[in-house]
Symmetry: C2
């Protein structure tokens, strides 16, 4: 009896819940892009840090502008530089640059374009109310106020406000570390011609990249070609030591030489069948206390299994949005095996229709590469017509 | 006379066109996630590489199944391992595993569930047509066919098909290298309390992160606090040597100590005003043959200037989608300065409405951090009412 996709997804979620529980680490701001805040961040300071000028112009007491034009002696200059300027005496003005400290005694800035400068004085042609063109200390945020919420994925503007508040490092959620172990005696690396029966390993690179694209990191990678349980056990020891969860591909179907099955079953792992195509054979277990999620070896099965069972959990842990779901209209009829949920490869057209790309075969890696959505055909559906709406998951 | 935003955007696009022209480099697949293909990639091989079994079962000649049940002697076994199996004699069967080479002489696979195995023979209960459960060589893609188009941003499924075809490295567009030079005598790094007049540098980290978020790389970073043209010149020499384009912040307004202006103008640079808020002062130029785009020093001005003038070009060069534009309904009235295009900070609500976050001031870094869209108010608009639709750009 096969499990439903939803039941297996629930099972995998439960299995991984401890591994995906947020842990924290501190990183420098320069390394914090796209990381997720571990907690809310409060401002240690007022922003702006001090009362400063919004314009290049003249700092004055607004009360000195009650009758304009008025000529005020210019008694100094304040640039945007460190240091506390002398207090302004009533009836005088100082030249001031944008961002510079507004002196005590001044409460307005007159933009340079509203003035006529003479050698040692300035004539102001417009009245200004107290506070005009002055940015008050704390007018953006007060010390103790929240700068950023918990669980926020950090973009450049978030790093900017942290830097502005003098925060040089930040506590973020640790990335989930994933180990990838591919199995199969037929697997080889690119770089030489394949002899008869040899297959280039696509699952290793696909899983590594998919893990990273979900905001997790790859803690360990191995390919096991030995068709030998003890050899696989050695790889798994290293994988478990270097990761929060282990993903394997291959070795779980009903044939012989199914090393992952042979390793996991005696340890209490579940090896069975999920009512889906591709990706029917699935397995889960624990190895050295680390959860293991095992996919079948066909590259399309592995990739779709990852998208369906693991990617949503990793994205959630990394604060990334879930894959976009859209209902699109089929451009052709389709038939589907009863009792199995199908994930067909599709290409979306103008965000309204979807064309089926390649056949349903789990070996069609080029077909998957040419698709941009998975078409999710429910297990009970056996036939759909051109124009029927189907649920799609954006890749 | 101010330039319009569109005119300045066109000017910046022209200035950067040579710097953003795609260059190519070769990277290993493991480093190719999110890179953009420099050209179309053709398959060097047929995929599948060889005719193989879709199921665990028995390879047979379909013609031997004309009358079922039929009992066939099992004369061997083929696993998914390197090597060419012996040809199948008519009237016999071999056990075969998923993915294993289908022997010459066999043209169908009978799934194990449709058979009854005896010691040395198998009874097949269903007829099978030639080709059933057999994956033909080249049935996914033929040698010479296109695997991936040019200009494609590589996701895990694209890397999978490259690996499957034995391709270990790929030619991608080089990332644009950007130098970031911030200026301002008042700037300090986080990590110690700011004295009066000192300001933590937010622009450096914001620009670095924004450049990376646009798929470019940061080739050089410097902060120049000397208010001195010769000192800035030294930074710019290093910046130009290590980047395809240089972005500066600060030093271009009409006040004194405007070092970027003082450096660029004698070299034929343009230093002027764009009819926008924030971000009015803008400058461009060339330094040692490398284009320079200069933003004002207020952190919000710098960040919004980057989003408006540079980010779209970098995203395009990196094969990233453009920022999403949406028309949203205002949750409150707003007034806008005539003659200036305003980019107000907003928070989108349920993808339908937009709330204005913080004031228009270019120092409100916390306000920008709390926003998720920029509200684009045209230069000629002076007033909008609650419920009016406004164009927004997603951050």
């Amino acid at each position: 009896m096969s499990r439903s996709v939803d039941d297996h997804a629930t099972h995998v979620r439960g299995l991984l819940s401890a591994a995906l529980r947020p842990r924290r680490e501190i990183v420098a701001l320069v390394d914090a892009l796209d990381r997720v805040t571990a907690g809310a961040v409060l401002s240690p300071v007022d922003l702006p840090l001090f009362r400063n000028s919004q314009m290049d112009g003249f700092a004055v007491a607004a009360s000195d502008l009650s009758a304009v034009p008025v000529r005020l002696p210019v008694v100094g200059e304040v640039a945007a530089r460190p240091g506390r300027p002398a207090a302004l005496r009533a009836g005088t003005a100082v030249r001031i640059m944008t961002g510079a400290v507004v002196p005590e005694g001044a409460d307005a800035v007159v933009p340079v374009e509203d003035t006529i400068s003479e050698r040692d004085s300035v004539t102001v042609n417009r009245t200004r109310a107290a506070g005009e063109y002055v940015r008050d200390r704390g007018s953006d945020v007060h010390a103790g106020e929240q700068l950023l919420p918990a669980g926020l994925r950090l973009a450049s503007r978030h790093l900017a406000v942290l830097a502005a508040a003098g925060i040089g490092e930040i506590e973020v959620r640790s990335r989930v570390r994933v180990a990838v172990v591919t199995t199969g005696a037929e697997l080889i690396s690119p770089g030489r011609p394949a002899a008869m029966g040899e297959v280039y390993d696509a699952n290793g690179i696909a899983l590594e990249a998919a893990v990273r694209a979900c905001g997790a990191e790859v803690g360990f990678v191995a390919r096991n070609q030995d068709d030998d349980t003890e050899s696989l056990r050695a790889s798994m020891v290293a994988a478990a030591r270097n990761a929060d969860l282990v993903i394997t591909s291959g070795g779980i179907s009903m044939g012989d030489y199914e090393v992952v099955r042979e390793l996991l079953q005696p340890l209490g792992g579940w090896v069975g069948s999920v009512a889906m195509q591709p990706g029917g054979p699935q397995a889960t277990g624990e190895f050295d206390g680390v959860p293991v999620v095992s996919f079948p070896g066909n590259p399309v099965s592995t990739q779709i299994s990852f998208e369906v069972f693991v990617a949503p959990l990793l994205r959630e842990a990394a604060g990334l949005p879930a894959a976009m779901l859209r209902r699109l209209a089929l451009t052709s009829d389709l038939r589907s095996v009863p009792g199995k949920r199908q994930f067909l490869r599709g290409r979306s057209l103008a965000g309204e229709r979807v064309e089926i790309v390649s056949g349903p075969g789990s070996h069609l890696v080029a077909g998957l590469a040419a698709s941009d959505v998975l078409i999710d055909v429910p297990a009970e559906t056996t036939e759909l017509k051109e124009g029927d709406l189907v649920e799609t998951m954006t890749l």
